[in-house]
Symmetry: D2
Subunit: 349 residues, 4 copies
């Protein structure tokens, strides 16, 4: 009997078609960092990647048909799109930021959520955090008028120049957070490349600041700042979404709490252990991850109702990460929750 003649038995394919992805970048005509109008910290999203990969990403940031085809192939029913990094946050001039955010949200609304593929898209709005009151207003418009399912912020915001930055825990951001809690929508805290003045630890290897390592460190720092600042004591109903399986925090969280017990209490304004905010105020996506160990380690720290599959298209591939997830050794109850049910609940889809 030849190898070709051998009887086989194919178990049914595990690919599912209901997945929802929510760390998925687009670029717009009114604001395209790659062509540097208006002025932002960096003129290209991915300064360190090789040419062919960069060209492919650039095309796919605006190619809606290619995106829908890729979603079809990978079994992705719905994508929540958002403006790619550095986003509005990278604009130096607050007034330009306010105006640009408005235009970007309108374009996304037109092209994606009311466009020819409207059934396949939802959006996270962008906001001009350089002017927190204006950000609160724009968030309100996004959610109530444009149907956005949340707001996505690309880390710190530039205020005036490349190295003057504002983190979301700073007091002036308070009106924005109050509005977010009132609107009952999550904020997705997305990475961006650290400012030039903070690339010192990478001296000689500055590309690490724009690699998943640097992104993770920068974004985890930001999330830890939010927790320690007492933000979630003032606004206990806020939800912050982190990608990339929580940016490394799950691995270190127990040790951080274990050590902070010895720190001077006036340095640590928050009232609870960080683990408690983690479990209550954060929701995690798997964007960019295809490691089983990282996935299960993250799952153990937050539970299956607060972990959501995602991709990070077009930087990552819908199909590569979709196939990994569809075949991950996991019961179908948990897979459905992580794959799409949690997103439906948390984003009110």
């Amino acid at each position: 009997m030849s190898d070709q003649q051998r009887p086989t038995f194919h178990l049914p394919s595990r690919r599912t078609g209901q997945k929802i992805a929510l760390e998925e970048a687009i670029s717009t005509h009114v604001f395209n960092p790659a062509i540097s109008l208006p002025p932002v910290q960096r003129t290209a999203e991915l300064p360190y990647v090789n040419t062919s990969y960069g060209a492919d990403v650039k095309d796919r940031l605006t190619n809606i048909e290619a995106r829908v085809a890729a979603m079809d192939k990978a079994g992705v029913a719905l994508t929540v799109v958002s403006l790619t990094m550095p986003g509005i946050e990278g604009i130096f001039d607050p007034a330009v930021a306010v105006e640009t955010a408005r235009k970007v949200n309108d374009e996304i609304h037109e092209l994606y959520t009311t466009g020819p593929h409207a059934s396949r898209f939802r959006a996270f709005g962008c906001v001009p955090m350089q002017d927190p009151e204006a950000a609160a207003l724009e968030a309100t418009r996004c959610v109530l008028e444009l149907g956005c399912v949340g707001i996505l912020v690309n880390g710190f915001s530039n205020i005036g120049d490349a190295d003057t930055v504002q983190y979301l825990d700073e007091p002036q951001c308070e009106p924005f957070w109050a509005k977010m809690e009132e609107l009952k929508v999550p904020l997705y805290l997305h990475p961006r490349i650290p400012p030039p003045g903070q690339l010192g630890p990478y001296k000689g290897y500055e590309f690490l600041g724009g690699s998943p390592w640097g992104f993770g460190v920068e974004t985890a720092n930001h999330a830890i700042r939010l927790m320690i600042s007492g933000l979630f004591d003032r606004h206990p109903n806020l939800t912050v979404i982190l990608g990339h399986c929580g940016e490394g925090i799950p691995f270190s969280l127990d040790r951080i709490d274990h050590r902070l017990r010895h720190f001077q209490s006036q340095l640590v304004p928050c009232k609870l252990r960080l683990q408690e905010y983690w479990e209550r105020n954060f929701v995690i996506t798997t964007a960019g991850v295809k490691s089983d160990a990282t996935f299960f380690d993250t799952l153990r720290t937050c539970g299956e109702d607060r972990l959501l599959w995602s991709v990070d298209y077009p930087y990552e591939d819908y199909d590569e990460l979709g196939e990994w997830f569809d075949n991950l050794e996991l019961n179908e109850n948990s897979r459905a929750k992580i794959g799409w049910q949690n997103a439906r609940r948390i984003l009110n889809l």
Copy 2:
């Protein structure tokens, strides 16, 4: 039948007495950062902790009898001591660094490895990385004359002032690494607080730079620099030890390699994927960790021959981490390797 009368059955205690600990700090009379002679970046090891904890740590950094008693209680047969951070690396003047390293190693030799408790101690030598040729010489003296089982370096070295720093991947460190490979002893890469100029991401929460989070990021950055620099291509037999379950790298390593495939190749000088160096050139300790999930995630990335239990005394407690490890749900074959057998093999004890 009262509760006191109920029959019970006690399974035999799981506490073992053969453990070896190897991220264990001491302070010396000839160099005590707490009293600021010679001048170093910071005048206290732990600027952010509360008073009673700080006083306790300060006492135990030099109290040999208390240490031995704590080892006895926790079932620790042997401790490998090393000079506490910032260590020699924090000295601004290279000539002072050279002289101080020599004095410190002599004092450790006298008080610990040939002292009244000599059977309970081994030492990692310290070296003046500010002068790499001198560091190579001192490493040789440590290993061949003083019986040191390896060298411990507290991260970057100051060169002249607080913010001018040198990482171990810089070209001038090459003679030191060549000697380390020749001596066939490991280098323990220990954390220290980032330089003042690199605390920007922690603005308002500078203590994070001296918390386990900041330590982990700083030390992981340093280890990733070593891998990317090509150091382990030039010296494939080097062994670098990282504490704290690998400083977060196990959680993110798969993703880093997954992404670096898209980076411009001239930016990434190393020849192999980082995972390959991780598995071949790194050895990990559990110092400071008492999370099962972190432990098992780390174990999965390196295997049970390259993971070693440790404590981080006196910052951590021998008994608290010893009890956690002794009772960790793990077969005794693996426990013995991680608890002491690996240390015996890797340190030639």
Copy 3:
């Protein structure tokens, strides 16, 4: 500074007081297997245990005050009680079984669920499976009149003698299952010692049949029979509860499905893979388990909405298993679901 003077920091206790336990045995006055009236297969529940343990268990099977005190200590808010094995299933004469089940359910109702500690107890009813039609009637009475939250069956039923047994997949049980589906309450499938004629594999070590190993094998066999028989194709809304982290099935389920693809299809009447019934029709408790590895392996096969903490009192100890669970390294979202929220949902509490 003496060891007693050292500063310490106690993290808040992790003990919770809301837990619900649901594989918890009692004995009754109207039917007490220990004193052999009416005649059952075995005259003692635990023929192989040592004397002091056996006496303790015997006392606690009926000592309600001791049980409530143990619940208080362990943080158990509510216990679902059920008649201890072999239960009604061990009665040889079907008519006696019918009558005894009724008396037992009435006594449980009087002493537990409407007694002085009524707020702390719910009950699983017992049924005379020797007469499936009567079992359906008694199940109805239990649920609709006595407020039982489900039915518990101790494995196979004796029909006439010690070695003639009936499994729940046999055709005559169909009316009972139809009623269970209609009543929308779960059936807890509890272990019992295999019949004498099936102790052959344990020859010389017959006690293994009454050990957790023998119990697990017997009960897993029974559950696999239910799946293969097609029961859950006919009654897709049934819920069967298994204790002891699923009686070993989670470890082997993937391999069973992997191999059954090669079996003659007429031998395997069920329509789906066993994994699909496992995920849809089974709910698992941790009764008797205090192994982290077993817990997490089970969790991975069913998801956190279908795993429930339990004890197996008085054979096991509320506090020993409660302390294990309260301190298990797990996020509090999952712990609350597994500890009590799932029980509230599944049992309509």
Copy 4:
């Protein structure tokens, strides 16, 4: 840019070519259960499988060229072959068993370990356990004269008829075990279908006795008997190999020991907890398993020096299980040990 034109990056294939497989069945001309000479309990190895699968298996049990080709494709450097179940153990007449074992071992020696593909094969010898003294002699001949790397026994042995069986813990087997300890080679305890008289629990679904579930239960029972009997107290240096990730024992071992503390001590002759024998006297293979969860659960109970990859060809597929193992998310240090290094050490290859 079309989908075909998109730049891709292929990480190097993870397939390795050094694997060793050791639960790999063959049939011989002098003893072929499929054609029932000499008389054995069952006339076919796999009475319940579908026709095309059965025919394929039957061919491949003797087709050496097909086996070598399959090994090549799957990256298997070496296979340790053994006579398929029920093997010599299924022969009713002890004298025939003695004679047949000798002939089978000679044929395996001629066709496999000194044949044209001798560099690709080693063998486990078979022995006539129906006559333990003769089994000790044949084991000696296998190891010292034929170069066998161990002995494989298919569970219980028939003594005279189908239902009279002998387990390996029975006193008359003592001379065989003493010889095994002296020869310093492992015994592979392989499953077989339980005797007809023990299929009662499967009544109506007898095929379960010949499914992975029934095999696992039967073989785990046997292994537990060995532990409890005190065999490993008398012969502490014995090594017993179990396939299928330990036949379910890893999942339940903690609970068995936890409960046996309450059993009458005279019933349990062994001196240690079962976990201690498990860690010292057992070696586990993954034969037949391709579940990550089962793999890691098993690994945690025995450590990476006592777990060995295997297949169970021709019942399983070299390539299917090889691909699973080669791509299992695991560091390469552990993979090499489990894939081939442990086999080399334990079998003295």
